[in-house]
C-alpha cells in the first residue's frame, strides 16, 4: 500500500463511527458530578463544618481540663503521702 493510501486511510479515522456511551450511565455520572458540586457549594455545609469544628474544640477542651484536674489530684495525693521530694 502506498503512503498516500495510508494517509487517506488515516484521514478516514476521523470518519469512523462515533461510539455512544450508555445514556443512562452518562446521566448518572452527570448527576453524581452535579451532586458533588452542590455539596461543595452549599452554605449549610459550611455552617455544619463550623459547628463540627466548634464541637470538636469544646470536647477537646473539656477532656483536656478533666485530665489536668485528675493529674493535679494525683500529684497532690502523692505529695501528701510522701512529702515534697528533695533534690
Amino acid at each position: 500500500m502506498r503512503i498516500e493510501e495510508v494517509d487517506r486511510a488515516l484521514a478516514e479515522l476521523r470518519g469512523l463511527p462515533a461510539l455512544a456511551p450508555d445514556a443512562v450511565r452518562s446521566e448518572r455520572t452527570r448527576a453524581r458530578c452535579r451532586a458533588a458540586m452542590a455539596r461543595r457549594a452549599s452554605p449549610p455545609r459550611e455552617l455544619t463544618d463550623w459547628r463540627t469544628r466548634a464541637e470538636r474544640l469544646l470536647a477537646t477542651a473539656v477532656v483536656g481540663a478533666l485530665s489536668a484536674l485528675y493529674l493535679a489530684g494525683i500529684v497532690y495525693e502523692a505529695i501528701k503521702v510522701y512529702g515534697v521530694p528533695r533534690a
Binding site: 503512503i3 494517509d7 488515516l10 479515522l13 469512523l16 456511551p21 452518562s26 458530578c33
Partner: protein, 198 residues
C-alpha cells in the same frame, strides 16, 4: 481540539472554577462522547471505557476549583482519561496480544444496525478498525488523539507526557505499522484479532 475558541474556553474555565453547573453541563455534553470514543478504542472494552469515563468526570469535578485560569479543558480531560487507562492496564496486566473483540464495544440486542455495524459493512472501515485495535497501545493512543480527536501533535504529546519530537516519532511509527497491517490482511496482529472477533 474543541469546537469552542480559546476565549470562550477561558471564560468557561472561570465559570467552572466558580462551580457553575451550567458550565459543567456544557463541558460534559461536549466531551463525554469524545472521551468515551477515545477510551473505548484505547481499551477495546466498553465496560472498562464506561468505568474510566465516570472516574475521569469525578476527578474533573474534584479538581475544578483548583484549575488554573489558562487550563485547557480538553487537554486536561484527555490527560486524565489516558492516565486512568495506563493505571488500569498496569493493574490488570493486560497484554496487547490478547485483544478483546471489537464487537464487545457495542451493546447487544440492538435491533437497528448501529453506525459501527454499518462501518463494518465497509471493508476499508473494518480493516481500519481492526488495524487500529491491533496496534500497541502507545501507537494507538497517538493515532486516536491526533487522527481521531484532532489534537495537535504538541497537545497530544502533553497528554501522553512525552516530548513533541517523541510524539512525532510515535506517529510516524504508528503510520508505518498501520500501513503494514492494511497492506497484509493476514498480518499477525490482525489474524489474532480476527480469531477473537469471529
Amino acid at each position: 481540539m474543541t469546537c469552542m475558541d480559546r476565549e470562550s474556553e477561558l471564560a468557561l474555565v472561570a465559570r467552572l472554577r466558580a462551580g457553575d453547573p451550567a458550565a459543567f453541563d456544557l463541558v460534559f455534553d461536549e466531551f463525554n462522547p469524545r472521551l468515551f470514543n477515545f477510551l473505548a478504542r484505547l481499551s477495546r472494552r466498553r465496560d472498562v471505557a464506561e468505568d474510566l469515563l465516570e472516574e475521569t468526570w469525578l476527578r474533573f469535578v474534584a479538581q475544578m476549583p483548583r484549575f488554573r485560569s489558562d487550563t485547557s479543558i480538553g487537554a486536561w480531560l484527555f490527560t486524565v482519561a489516558r492516565n486512568l487507562h495506563v493505571s488500569y492496564r498496569r493493574s490488570r496486566l493486560i497484554e496487547d496480544s490478547h485483544a478483546a473483540g471489537l464487537l464487545g464495544l457495542w451493546p447487544c440486542g440492538s435491533i437497528a444496525a448501529s453506525p459501527f455495524e454499518s462501518a463494518l459493512a465497509s471493508e476499508t472501515g473494518r480493516r481500519l478498525e481492526n488495524a487500529l485495535a491491533a496496534l500497541p497501545v502507545v501507537y494507538r493512543e497517538a493515532l486516536l488523539l491526533i487522527g481521531v480527536e484532532g489534537l495537535r501533535p504538541a497537545e497530544a504529546a502533553a497528554v501522553c507526557g512525552i516530548s513533541p519530537e517523541a510524539m512525532r516519532q510515535r506517529l510516524s511509527r504508528a503510520r508505518a505499522l498501520i500501513a503494514r497491517a492494511l497492506e497484509d490482511p493476514k498480518h499477525p496482529a490482525l489474524t489474532r484479532l480476527e480469531e477473537v472477533t469471529t
